[in-house]
Subunit: 334 residues, 2 copies
DNA sequence: GTCATTTTTGCAACCGGTTGCAAAAGTGAT
DNA sequence: ATCACTTTTGCAACCGGTTGCAAAAATGAC
């Protein structure tokens, strides 16, 4: 069934090399030869086997797209942008789901078996050990949404989570909140740790505040809701305003508050992080810190592509500024 | 850098075939030989090149996961389940994003170049022409969430959308609604067409009803919200109750209604379809028809796997029953 | 220990391409 | 037509594996 180089060569009455050359650009083929070959190829419906050619060229154009984040709707957009961006450059995403995976070795082995040209780790909750493991295996890797200081030898594209923490703190202070809460994502996630650090750092400049913090189990609606319900029960009265680890978490928190009869922002203020599409939905209208994910992803793709040419490129961190998107879950500055 | 079969063979002092055989199960190797080879392999950190072996075996274990639905949060769960399910069986998903793609030929060529063993088309909005094109190219294909009558020669796994339409109609009738609306997804989507057909069929049994229908541009929050806003403006008064094409659409509709001061379910009733996670969120609490996506996906994977053994398997449609999940967006039966 | 039978091993060809090299063909000047 | 020079072409080896086949080694019965 599958038609090969040889078939085309025979039909066109030329050598196999000639056929190969007409399909690799930059090769030396006369116009006449090209016409002959292309004619035979279309008649036979030939398209070259990318995997076979990868054997000699050493390039598969396969990029491992590695993530463990399949519960935060923002990652649907992330996958959308990554897959389209990669496709547009002739690269193919091999999706690897690392949910519940703690051992980098398996993934490394797997991606090596498929000779991926590079790997994008798209996650803010996956241990930096994964990106490092790929790097150590000699696979070009970019960690998108990662922490830039955790693995200086790995390329990182993302935001400055510490600064985002500060930004959230300033926003709450500006509005005169004094009993303030941090409701983070998973405590082990570097993004949570950094946001917390920046947040506390900024708050520390203003003495006399009452600050509490706690963590949800995951960046998810359910976890946010559960954690806020716990606070309402065990830790009442809750703070005047919360910085939540993430939008989807915020939305869970919002739902718990509404169920408990608390009005937002009159009784409790909320600021999230990401600016996922849902945050702008009119029945949610979440004030949040916008993370420029399109730019992050574009840059990640450009970087991984550059590494294909230059695998030992000196590692860099590409950080994109975030900005506050004001909607209706914080009271206005007085 | 990459260590090959030959390296291992030399190190172990055996033939290349011997090494190959220890890594293909079912091959004849003595225990002693296996030990020798495995020792050398681990010392060198060898893992076989799956792509090279695919050349002779004709199996890549690559499965094209094709979709155009990157805006409906339910598809994040779909991707999660597919990727994990495939991985668990030693298959690798090659993700293909067909957003804005109308021409099947490109995708077919691309997937052929990568010699995927099979394809799963996961979409209820993608034209059946895609699944057919893969089939015609000789690639085993399963259309998940597809319409079973559109391409009898293609395997389909999903639900009976016509029956779901009937089910929604019965649910509304049971509750005494008489001014009834259908607010569908994209009119070209087979899922929308079928749900509409079933819905109207059931309603037709009850004369004297007042039934309207219209379509949103996409299965998305934004589209649902926009369409309901249009109805509120141009087509008031709106119906007593709507069957919406999909949950995320329903949530958009809900938001438009709330903004317009309409209470749900007191003024307007709503029933969706899917039972996505968000439908159960307490601030939404959408009554909906549950589509058993775990089962659909599991079955799709089993089916595509079976087709690897038997590519010309007689085509079948696997349909899973849906059921109504009652929450709080329909008034109770009187 | 011999012999027939089974298991294990290596050789060599092959999978579908690419590529260095040298021969063949084309080009232009004389 | 000849020659020097450039471009195009085909040969053959190779990429990293697999596999049919026959030879070698192991097994077991006698």
């Amino acid at each position: 069934m599958p038609v090969t180089l040889k078939d085309v060569a025979e039909r066109a009455g030329v050598s196999r090399s000639a056929v190969s050359r007409t399909f690799t650009d930059g090769a030396s083929v006369s116009a006449k030869m090209r016409r002959k070959v292309e004619k035979a190829a279309t008649e036979l419906g030939y398209s070259p086997n990318a995997l076979a050619s990868s054997l000699t060229t050493g390039r598969t154009k396969l990029i491992g797209l590695v993530s463990n984040n399949f519960h935060n709707p923002i990652f649907l957009e992330v996958f959308d942008l990554f897959t389209r961006g990669l496709q547009d450059r002739g690269l193919r995403p091999l999706l690897v789901n690392l949910t519940n995976e703690t051992e980098p070795d398996n993934s490394v082995r797997m991606l090596r078996q498929y000779s991926v040209d590079g790997v994008v780790v798209a996650s803010s909750t996956l241990s930096p050990a994964f990106a490092r493991a790929f790097r150590d295996a000699g696979i070009p890797v970019v960690h998108s949404f990662g922490r830039y200081s955790s693995s200086p030898q790995v390329h990182v594209v993302g935001i400055d989570n510490v600064e985002c923490g500060r930004m959230a703190a300033r926003e709450l202070l500006k509005r005169g909140y004094r009993r303030i809460g941090f409701l983070g994502g998973p405590e082990q996630a570097t993004s949570t740790q950094d946001r917390f650090a920046g947040f506390m750092e900024e708050l520390a400049k203003h003495p006399g505040l009452n600050v509490k913090h706690s963590y949800a189990d995951a960046y998810s609606f359910k976890a946010g809701r559960a954690e806020m319900q716990r606070l309402l029960l065990n830790d009442a009265p809750v703070a005047e305003a919360y910085f939540c680890g993430d939008d989807v978490l915020s939305i869970g928190v919002l739902s718990a508050l509404q169920d408990a009869g608390q009005r937002v922002p009159e009784d409790v203020g909320l600021i999230g992080l990401n600016d996922m599409e849902m945050a702008s939905w009119e029945n949610i209208s979440l004030t949040t810190i916008r993370q420029p994910i399109r730019q992050i992803i574009r840059s990640s793709i450009e970087l991984v592509e550059a590494m294909l040419e230059e695998p030992d490129r000196y590692p860099e961190a590409r950080l994109f500024p975030c900005s506050v998107v004001e909607r209706r879950t914080l009271r206005s500055a007085h």
